[in-house]
Subunit: 171 residues, 2 copies
DNA sequence: TGTTTTTGTTAGGTATACCTGATTAATTTT
DNA sequence: AAAATTAATCAGGTATACCTAACAAAAACA
């Protein structure tokens, strides 16, 4: 596997990339926005953007979090007017969490940020990068699926849907 | 600029990529290692790997942090045996921070992680990705430089050196 | 030499992401 | 109907990344 050497090189460049990303986006909240998409409150927003109106319990399961943490984050999101909570009619124990219009906008805003550095690429390179990302992402889907055959982490499945429908379609 | 549309597509895939990365590396500390390379204590380690034996003040300046934060992080790193501190002989006010062997190993370990998803790429694609990352990174260097003409953030300069010498050379 | 500047420390604080334990209220099971 | 399970909440905790204010010691400057 001579390939391993090339992989190593690329790995280095990816670290470099992350580093630079981190520094370059040092300006204010833009960075935070982007970074916080995949943790805590951001994760929840993302999950809801795929599948709205979920009970807290379901969210907690999907995102691999305790219900207590979920309660906390949802409360915080509610305060920021990004989600709303209402009691389920069928089951008065459950609280349904929904995105507010505000929340939906917020997600859109965060996801539509086009990193400035993409300007550096010409059409051909953009196409290449697209294809490469497709392959990489597909590989990760596989890895995730395999690591998760037990299905106990529904989040993975969730993200699969999310991305496949919302992003992949515009190829 | 029709290109904007393609950029948008790619931006989406990059978000997808980050998301998946986040989920796929869900296993234990591997994830944390990688993520924490660019913040707080990790940043400091990285800075020292380029240029060792620095006064705390210099580190604080380069990393855009208050000296107090720096003191805190350095203390934490010392506790973890990743750096050592010694008083400068020339200037008894300054504390010189140095990587321990342990710290050096730690950085190597963290940076040499080859993401599994790179397996999915063949030689040609790996080459393409390499070139693309070069271009993107170069663009970011420019952006950083421009944003930082005042030179008040030496970190950027630092990273420039770091990456150019340590990573770029093996092209 | 006395004042000012610089490096670093101590103390205290904020915010975010999580977690465990205990408890309540609603629903299901027996 | 009583017991067990479930969804959520409250209370309290840990860890990390930062920050400001106040202050001591050393060095530079006047």
């Amino acid at each position: 596997m001579t390939n391993l050497i090339d992989q190593g090189k690329t790995a280095g460049k990816l670290v470099e990339f992350s580093m630079l990303q981190n520094i370059a986006e040092d300006d204010a909240q833009h960075k935070n926005d982007y970074k916080m998409l995949f943790q805590g409150q951001g994760k929840i927003l993302l999950a809801l953007s795929d599948d709205d109106n979920l009970p807290q319990k379901v969210l907690a399961d999907r995102l691999n979090m305790t219900p207590q943490s979920m309660a906390e984050f949802v409360r915080k999101l509610e305060k920021r007017d990004l989600v709303s909570r209402k009691k389920s009619v069928d089951d008065k124990r459950v609280t349904i969490v929904s995105l507010t219009d505000n929340g939906r906008l917020e997600i859109e805003k965060r996801m539509q940020v086009i990193p400035k550095y993409l300007r550096a690429l010409n059409d051909e390179e953009l196409l290449q990068l697209n294809n490469i990302l497709d392959k990489i992402n597909e590989q990760m889907y596989l890895d995730i699926k395999n690591a998760d055959s037990t299905l106990h982490n529904k989040y993975h499945q969730l993200m699969l849907n999310h991305v496949l429908t919302k992003i992949h379609t515009n190829d």
